[in-house]
Each structure stands twice: as structure tokens, then as C-alpha cells.
Point group: C2
Chain length 356, copies 2
DNA sequence: TTGTAAGCGTTATCAC
DNA sequence: GTGATAACGCTTACAA
């Protein structure tokens, strides 16, 4: 592999000059510049970013640690982060924590050793001593989607309460009263927030939440399935199951289908977190969409501010209710008090939110 | 940030000794080793992987360039690659080519500059000069999922012909004769292979393929939708639409739903490439599942062989037909002669393939 | 068992 | 406008 020294020799200049050409230093004659370029192509020269980073103390690399790479929410988030970082000339290394604190710490360690310029973390439940240390050391760090109590780090998160309130109002207007929630883990800030918002919205609408209508899930398919099973086995099962994320929705859907129940006639379903295929289940699933891509982009802008020494301010982006047909919104769906004006939209399909 | 020199000073030893401790060199006394460890924790020392890589000429990093990060097939692939690489102590940098040759080349360049130890590429259509150069230079490189004609590089791919043959047999046994295919791009090896296998299987079963039953798609949702639209507009539309990948299935499904058609009564649907939510559409979609995770793991083993100087042999892993209900497999599905018996299983759900 | 010192491929300072 | 050269933080002969 050709080195800068080879290029210099081939072009009949010093390594310093080649370096200047590489870094677009204006104080190089057009003529020598061209000679150097010629030498580079002749030798198939690729600058060694490792050596450069050692010298400049910058890697132009960002580390991103996500909760679960098989969750489409995080995939979309990663894509947005990657796109925005690329625009700014940065590469992203993605670490999949698989919702485990030890895996998360493993990635924090490798990313730190690799000297990434900034760290974007969707933190798992625990406040590990490593995370504390990193935050205390003041290294460029931004929390994404989730936050950690007692740790002072700028963050970008989703403001979910308003949309959840809207959903409960929507359900109540449809005639539903018995609404159950399969929550995310209380150890995660997002889990806590959604549960709190659900409770508050129910109270605000004068609806009761018996304890057995609050199922504790863990943001994974299995818990959605198990939670739905327990709810459906109740002497008085809920009219609506509201799930706390898209994977638990997948699980709940599986359980409902396995029992041969019909949505929304036998039980209605609503989901926090929207994914593209929700439109294609029959009936299409009413969901709360998160501003996922914007979340990722905002986080990159924030971490780059930190990296480049500018201040960074935490932000919360609003989620949005997307009404479809899984809660008895249309007469065809077979909801409890369904009555619907004519010519109102395309029932089978729901909307098509654009997902860039 | 503490350097090895600081640790050495703090422990009262030379940097060489600290380095030996870092690299588990056995020729260090238990006693000094402990002193060094103590110094490391006291100083919160993190070895600088950049400096280490410069010296050792190895980064313990693999580059993976995928076709489209929003396609669940590639996500699952990436996850498997990451898991297997991690087991071997490697980090993976994922580049999303977005099915564009220039993006792909961009990532090849950055990954080369970052001196990754090996490169895993799902190549886009074009044989770019950069890819040719890399292959010619003999750098550790493995093609994943797709191959490039005329380029001698070890590869791991899916053997799809057998499963496609099986699907056509299955459809014929169900009484279908007019079967259309929405293909992937002929510029991609996977696109060509699936189309070829489809043609061969149809011929083998004595079924005709009129040219208008072969829609040219591009492995993205839009082309699936457009292709389905053209097929359904035909004077004699097909009985079955077979789509060449999961995103085109999403598109076709959207078009079918938008027209208010019922599956499989009005038109049957089968998909090459299976994703978890296919089980939850009603009816569940009959699909050909790819050994995605194994594909990723095999590719990592292969590239590590190349990296460590061992020979690597190309491999092809078989895809597998997963029969569900979108092709009229059950009378309940609303096939031509729909009539439903009591208590017969769980039609809405189809099977649940385990996806590790 | 431990230390000294050269060198990895850059960038940047200082001369010229 | 260009060149010599020290330095970045490590690893690894080679010496002691």
C-alpha cells in the first residue's frame, strides 16, 4: 500500500507538500498540485486515516449505540443518524446493545478506545459506572430517545404525552371505556413516560385503570404476546389493548390472531410507535408515530455542536396520532358504536404516512 | 486522556512493560502486572486503538456495505454479521449504499482509508473501477448475497432455484396456472437468478409465461406497487402475483388493498424473501425464506479466513418455501370455493418461523 | 523480567 | 512555495 512518502518521491516533492495537497492547503502551485495528483492516481494512493487520526486527534467518526437493531424504530433512527453524519463528513459506527447494560458498556469501551469524536447513546436501564464516568469526564455525549435520571447530558427525546392524550380521547369518542396498556419497562425513561401519560390521560378523561389493565412489558415481542394473553384471559377483558411499542404490538397481534379473535370487533388494538406494515394488516393499526428520522438528525446536530465546542440544548420532538381502523373507526371494521359518514376514505388501507 | 506513558510513570515501570500487560504478555511478574492494573484504573486509562492500529497494521474492524438499510433483509444480515464478528473480537462499520454505485464506492473508499481488515460487500449493479481495483489488489474482500460477473472474489449467496421450483409446484397443485412475477433488476445477480429460476420452473411445470406476466421491478416498494397495478390492469390478469423481494411485496400488497381486492380470492400473492410481519397480514403470506442470519455468519467466517491468510471458498445456502395462506391454501382464505369448517386451526396466523 | 529506542504514516512548525 | 523534522501513542526487537 503506497504511503505519502512514495507519492512524494514519485512526484519529486517532499511529504510536506503532498500533505498540503491532501489537505487543500492553498499555498501549493497549481503545477506541483497536479504533479502530486498524478502521482497519487499512478500509485493508487489511499491516505491512511489511522495515521492521520493519531496526529490530529480526530477520527471524524461518531459512535451510535442503539437498543435493539432488529427493532425497526432503531433501524430508522440509525439510518437518519448515518445520513446526517455523512452530510457533515462523519462516519458512524453502530453498536447494538441488545437492551443489555453489559453490551452497551462493551460498545462504550470500544468506541472510546477507537477515539470516536462523539457518542450518541440510547441508554439502557441501568446507570453504569462507565456511563457516569464518561459523562463526568465531559466527553462529547448525547442521549438519544432515552435519558438517564441524575446524569447531566444533553438529550433528544420524543414528547409522547400529548399524542397519548389524544389517542385516549379518540378511543373514548369511539365509545371505548375499558382500555388496557401493555407498558414498556419502568426502568426505561420512555417506558415510564408512556405509562405516566397513559395514566394521566385516562384520569383526565374520567376513565378508570384497574391494576390488571396495566401489563408490564419489556419492549419485546414476547412480552406483548404474554401481556395480551393475560388481558384476554381476564374475567372482564379490555375493549382496547394499547401497546407501548411496535414489537409488543407484533406480539399482541399474534396472540389475538392465535385466539381467532377479530379486530376491532372482539378487541381493539392501538400501538405506540408506528411502522410501515401497520397499514397492511387488516384492519390497519391506529398508532402513534414518532418523529424518528428527525430525532436522529437532531441528535447528530447536537453532538456535532458538542464536538466542535458549541453549546448543545436538549430537545423533545412531538409524537403524532395516526388514526386508522383497528379501534373501530369504521362501520366495516365492526366497532362497538360505529357509524360513519359516506365516502370517507379507504378503509382497508388506512393512510400512508410518508416515511422518508 | 491518560496515555501509556502516564500509566508507566504512575506504576513506576517502563512503557514497554505497560504494553506487555495490555497485550497479556506472560513475561510480566504478577506483582508488576498488578501495579500496572492499579495505575490503569487510577488514571482511567483507555488504550488508544488508533495508535495501536498504526503500529500493528491491523484495526480489528470489518467493513460491511449493504444495499439498503431500511430493507429488513439487510438489517437482519447486518445483525448477524455484527454478532459473528463480535465473537471474534472484531468491530463492524456498516455502510448503507442505498443501492447506488456512487454511495457504495464512497464507503469502499472511507473503509479502505480507515484500513479495515476486511471488506464485506453486497455489490450494486455496476462493476465500478474501484471495486475492480480492490479485487485485483487482492485485499480481503467477500461478496455477500450478490455477486459481480467477471470479478473473482469469494462469495456467500442464497441458492434460490430449488425453493422457487417448489413454490411453482405448490401453486400449480393449488390449481393456479396464470402466474406473474415482479422481478428484481436484471443488473443484480439476485434479480437475474430469481427470474431465471422462475422461468425455468414455469417451463418445467408446463406453464406459459406471457411477456406481460414478467414485470421488471427494482427491489423497492414503488416498483412492486406499479408492477402489481399493471398486472391487475391486464385484460387477463394473473391468478397469482409472485414478488421478487419483501419490499416489492409491500408495494404489491398496497396496490391490491387499494383496489379493494381480496387475497387470495381475487388474486393470490407469494413473496420471495420472508419478513416477520408476513404472518400477521390476513391472509398470512406464503413466502420463500432466506437463510439470512446464516448468510451473514458464513460471510464473516469467510472474510476472517481471508484476513488471517487462510483460503476461503464460496458458498450458496438454500432458501426455503414457507407455505401460509395467501395463495388459497385453505378454504377459509376465501379461495374460489370458500366454505369453512368449524374449529380448524388458526387460519389468520399461519406459522411462526423462528427468527433467532 | 524489564528497559531502551526505532518506527508505523501522517500533520504542523519552523526554516529557507 | 517548499522542505526537514518532531511529534502523535503505541508495539516490538534487542539489550541488559
Amino acid at each position: 500500500m503506497a504511503r505519502i512518502k512514495d507519492v512524494a518521491a514519485h512526484a519529486g516533492v517532499s511529504v510536506a507538500t503532498v500533505s498540503r495537497v491532501l489537505n487543500d492547503n492553498p499555498s501549493v502551485t497549481e503545477e506541483t498540485r497536479n504533479r502530486v495528483y498524478a502521482a497519487m492516481t499512478a500509485l493508487n494512493y489511499r491516505p491512511n486515516a489511522v495515521a492521520r487520526s493519531l496526529r490530529t486527534e480526530a477520527t471524524r467518526t461518531l459512535g451510535l449505540i442503539i437498543g435493539d437493531i432488529l427493532n425497526p424504530f432503531f433501524t430508522e433512527l440509525a439510518r437518519a443518524v448515518e445520513d446526517e453524519a455523512r452530510l457533515a463528513g462523519y462516519t458512524v459506527i453502530i453498536g447494538n446493545a441488545d437492551e443489555r447494560a453489559d453490551e452497551q458498556d462493551h460498545y462504550v469501551r470500544t468506541l472510546l478506545e477507537r477515539r470516536v469524536d462523539g457518542l450518541l447513546i440510547c441508554p439502557t436501564a441501568e446507570v453504569t459506572s462507565l456511563i457516569e464516568e464518561v459523562a463526568r469526564a465531559g466527553r462529547p455525549l448525547v442521549f438519544l430517545d432515552r435519558t438517564l435520571p441524575g446524569i447531566e447530558v444533553p438529550s433528544v427525546r420524543v414528547e409522547s404525552a400529548a399524542a397519548i392524550g389524544e389517542l385516549i380521547g379518540h378511543l373514548k369518542a369511539l365509545g371505548h371505556r375499558r382500555i388496557a396498556f401493555i407498558s414498556g419497562p419502568a426502568t426505561l425513561s420512555t417506558g415510564r413516560e408512556r405509562t405516566e401519560a397513559f395514566r394521566a390521560a385516562m384520569a383526565a378523561h374520567g376513565l378508570a385503570v384497574p391494576p390488571e389493565y396495566l401489563e408490564a412489558g419489556d419492549f419485546r415481542e414476547g412480552s406483548g404476546r404474554a401481556g395480551a394473553a393475560r388481558l384476554l384471559d381476564l374475567p372482564e377483558p379490555p375493549e382496547v389493548i394499547f401497546t407501548g411499542d411496535n414489537l409488543m404490538t407484533l406480539g399482541a397481534l399474534g396472540e389475538i390472531r392465535a385466539r381467532g379473535l377479530r379486530i376491532p370487533r372482539d378487541v381493539a388494538l392501538a400501538s405506540f410507535d408506528d411502522v410501515p406494515w401497520f397499514v397492511h394488516v387488516d384492519p390497519a393499526i391506529t398508532a402513534i408515530a414518532q418523529p424518528t428520522a428527525e430525532l436522529g438528525r437532531a441528535a447528530v446536530r447536537m453532538i456535532l455542536n458538542r464536538v466542535e465546542g458549541r453549546p448543545a440544548e436538549s430537545a423533545a420532538l412531538p409524537a403524532q396520532l395516526v388514526v386508522r381502523t383497528s379501534c373501530g373507526e369504521t362501520p366495516y371494521g365492526g366497532g362497538p358504536a360505529a357509524a360513519r359518514g359516506a365516502g370517507a376514505g379507504d378503509p382497508g388501507q388506512g393512510d400512508e404516512r410518508s416515511r422518508s
